[in-house]
């Protein structure tokens, strides 16, 4: 039975799509997302198959694209910054996929996905893919399909950006998923400073202060953040001030900081950790606390996963856990 999966997607089969991504066919991205976002049982089977076909085991290596998490409170200028970043990456011939996640309304279940309107894009450019998704009822700021989407799009795109709204603990999910996490703040935001100092928020890989065109307030915020990082013993974390209004400033510096962070990273280790957390989060979301208890708790579940082949994809790992919990 074919489920109508929306505009433009012939009910795609996983193997074809996996092949297209492996061949670097960026136009496959929309159909890939339609498949991954599917809610039905058949959709899950296809989604699992797609992920397995693009697992490190299948590829013989980690997906080469850089997965960058961009997160911060509403209104700090994330999408304007993203517009500039995407433009700069494209000018450098790097292909970019943006997964923009917005919160859903608790009341109606619906969502307004407004980032796209603020990102400048040439309609003819297949090298910049933007997909807006609603977080649904998941906590943690990610949509159900975001992890899977980021991991498979990193096969074909040079950069995969996961953009989420939030500050405090909600960015831990992004941190689990991304190779590099940038937290975006605007001048004068004391809450981030407090969260950092008190340890509510983990130290991000890169901190970005927007609205540098305001001058002094931005510089002061940058200085405050640097001082806080020093007091926490983290001298290396770069704090970059950017301005997205013309003439934009700090964009090249930010790209360099993101690249530098990734260059120092043990990608295989970070991705492995990410896949294990993704598998656990999916099973937890599906089976709840009872399911988690059946696995002997978080720690035991992670121990189970560390016994699995490190090159397996998150969907396969999740299946292992699910079977164990239900069995």
């Amino acid at each position: 039975m074919s489920t109508p999966s929306g505009a433009g997607s012939d009910p795609a089969d996983a193997a074809t799509l996996a092949g297209r991504l492996r061949d670097g066919d960026l136009a496959a991205a929309a159909a890939v997302l339609n498949l991954l976002e599917g809610r039905g049982e058949a959709d899950r089977e296809r989604s699992d198959a797609l992920q397995a076909a693009l697992s490190p085991a299948a590829l013989g290596r980690e997906a080469p694209g850089a997965i960058v998490g961009i997160t911060g409170p509403p209104g700090v200028g994330k999408s304007s910054l993203l517009s500039r970043l995407a433009g700069a990456w494209r000018a450098d011939s790097r292909t970019v996929a943006v997964l923009a996640v917005d919160p859903s309304s608790r009341r109606s279940g619906g969502a307004l996905l407004g980032d796209r309107a603020r990102i400048e894009r040439d309609a003819a450019d297949a090298g910049l893919f933007i997909r807006s998704t609603a977080a649904g009822d998941r906590l943690g700021g990610l949509a159900p399909a975001t992890r899977a989407a980021a991991s498979v799009l990193a096969v074909a795109f040079d950069i995969v950006v996961v953009e989420t709204v939030g500050v405090g603990q909600s960015e831990t999910d992004v941190a689990d998923l991304a190779d590099t996490v940038a937290v975006i703040v605007q001048p004068g935001s004391g809450d981030v400073l407090q969260f950092l100092k008190s340890g509510i928020m983990e130290i991000p890989d890169v901190l970005v202060v927007t609205k540098a065109d305001l001058g002094r307030p931005a510089l002061r915020t940058r200085a405050d953040l640097s001082a806080a990082l020093r007091s926490l013993g983290s001298r290396e974390t770069p704090v970059v001030a950017v301005s997205s209004v013309a003439p934009p400033t700090g964009i090249a510096e930010l790209i360099e900081a993101l690249d530098e962070h990734r260059a120092t990273l043990d990608i295989a280790a970070r991705r492995l950790r990410s896949r294990r957390h993704a598998a656990l989060a999916d099973v937890h979301a599906e089976l709840g606390d009872r399911g988690l208890r059946a696995l002997g708790g978080r720690r035991a579940a992670l121990a189970t996963l560390s016994g699995c082949d490190p090159m397996l994809d998150a969907a396969t790992l999740a299946r292992t856990l699910r079977e164990r919990a239900l069995g």
Binding site: S5, G6, R39, S108, G109, G110, A111, L112, G136, A246
Partner: protein
Amino acid sequence: MSDRESPRLPERDRPWVMRTYAGHSDAARSNELYRRNLAKGQTGLSVAFDLPTQTGYDPDHELARGEVGKVGVSIAHRGDMKTLLDGIPLDEMNTSMTINATAAWLLSLYIVAADEHGVAPEALQGTTQNDILKEYLSRGTYAFPPGPSMRLIADMIAYTVVHVPRWNPINICSYHLQEAGATPVQEIAYAMSNAIAVLDAVRERVPAELMGQVFGRISFFVNAGVRFIEEHAKLRAMSELWDELGRDRYGVEDPRQRRFRYGVQVNSLGLTEAQPENNVYRIALEALAVTLGRSARARALQLPAWNEALGLPRPWDQQWSLRLQQILAYETDLLEYPDIFEGSHVMESLVAELADGARAEMERVAELGGAVLAVDYMKSALVESHRERWRRIESGDLTVVGMNRFDSTEPSPLTADADGGIMVVDPAVESEQRAALERWRSERDETAVREALGALAAAAADPEINIMEPSIAAARAGVTTGEWSQTLRDVFGEYRAPTGVGEASAVPSGDLSELRDEVERVSDQLGRRLKFLVGKPGLDGHSNGAEQIAVRARDAGMDVVYEGIRLTPAQIASSAAQEGVHVIGLSILSGSHAELIPSVLAALRQEGIGETPVVVGGIIPDADAAMLREQGVAAVYTPKDWDLNQMMRSIVTLVAERYGIDAAAAV
């Protein structure tokens, strides 16, 4: 005989300047229309420019497609401007130009054209609208980011106060805020905050001793709705606040320079498509709001036509509205008395209430760093007010006669004509204008043009140089509207304004639960939550309707990708494909649907998603709606479809049909 003082003025007042917002097609046709209007007793000009001119694109630009000459006249260079003003006595005429992002350019063209007609800048009288903040908030014809835009405005004020001293370089518009849903308090507060942002920027560019003169040249363009008593009080409150602001913030000592001067276009928001003849009464009452009390009477008035909710008005429709002004001014005794509200306790306390509310809201904007930085805040406040207004109409709390109450009607003879009672712009205008532009470019001195553009770019990059001189030089050299704007875009960058939809609060669930259940059911069968793309193709920036649709669709439980304004058909198609949406909603109010919608359908086919249903909303005459449906549009919604929940139900049903999902048992 009694020795009581006469209640009358010793001499009847002179009437306000009477205008009609007019212009269409090309300069020659509009010039002919202006001359006819002046012959009918109109006393000032109000130039409507088409959207490419307003947003700085030449008629041959991709984004201009379908829009050339539609909602106003196309002016691409000084030759067009000269033709537009031919035979009109510019030293006596008072010309209002609805132009904002490109105001500095159109004023330059006006100065050069006047010069060619032998009239010096010192003699020119009129107004450039030139209010960019309300473009971000409501009208959408911005071109540059806020910082550079404010600088252009400040440059124009600093220039005109010395060189074109009888010109009003800016008309702070509260008009469009009301159209976007502003309450009277918001309308006053945001307009005043906007004025403060402008004056603060100018203060840095003119010598202190000129500030009184600058203050005296700032005028306002306000709106008046059908609640005409409160609307009148609003204008008195604005006078009071303006006087206060001049005295306290800018140290203006001469009370004449602190006088609140304003022009008016009365409300279009409240005009209905249903029983459109009733709009004549609404317009008359709204005209009273701005003329009744002498101490807050409009300096200039333009009235909409009865059929604006149906399409573009014809010359006869506009004449009907001009006659209303003339009856008010010349037949009634309105102009024979001093201020008739003086001493009215009711009016006084109404004014005090509005002024207090506005002061509080102005403080809030100031706390956010002033109007420029508070654009996001103001925008979401307006979307929220508009949503609330619409909720009241839908629930019946707010009566709109002929629409949500007393809606049975006899067939109207006024709309029975073959053209449906609206004006249709000749589609050949666009290609004529393109050809004319090509001729213009081939006949001018290219070296002079390149030099002028080079000087313009250098001036744009250096905030110390006033943009007006190089702009006037460029106008003389034969530069086009698109070239002037592109040169500035290259220096200033592009800008996308906030949409304000993200923050709008949800409607009470009770009204929507059945609809939400249906959205859930259809979403489950689709395999993903029903995803809806809402956007505006073309240059029309009136996004209020599209924003309300987006918010309501979210409240109905859909995932809504809100794309905003000014999109090419290719952009819409590519977004729809990338986002994997199930249905696309397009809104157009500029009358360019006949060109743009088929282009979007073609672009969707090219993306391989031609089967995705497209619904269209806007001011679309019946005949056009039929044509669009024939071309493959799934549904056309007009102002008749004011019940948004009903519209959402219709969209969900349509999606279900398209994707082969069983109809709900009862929707």
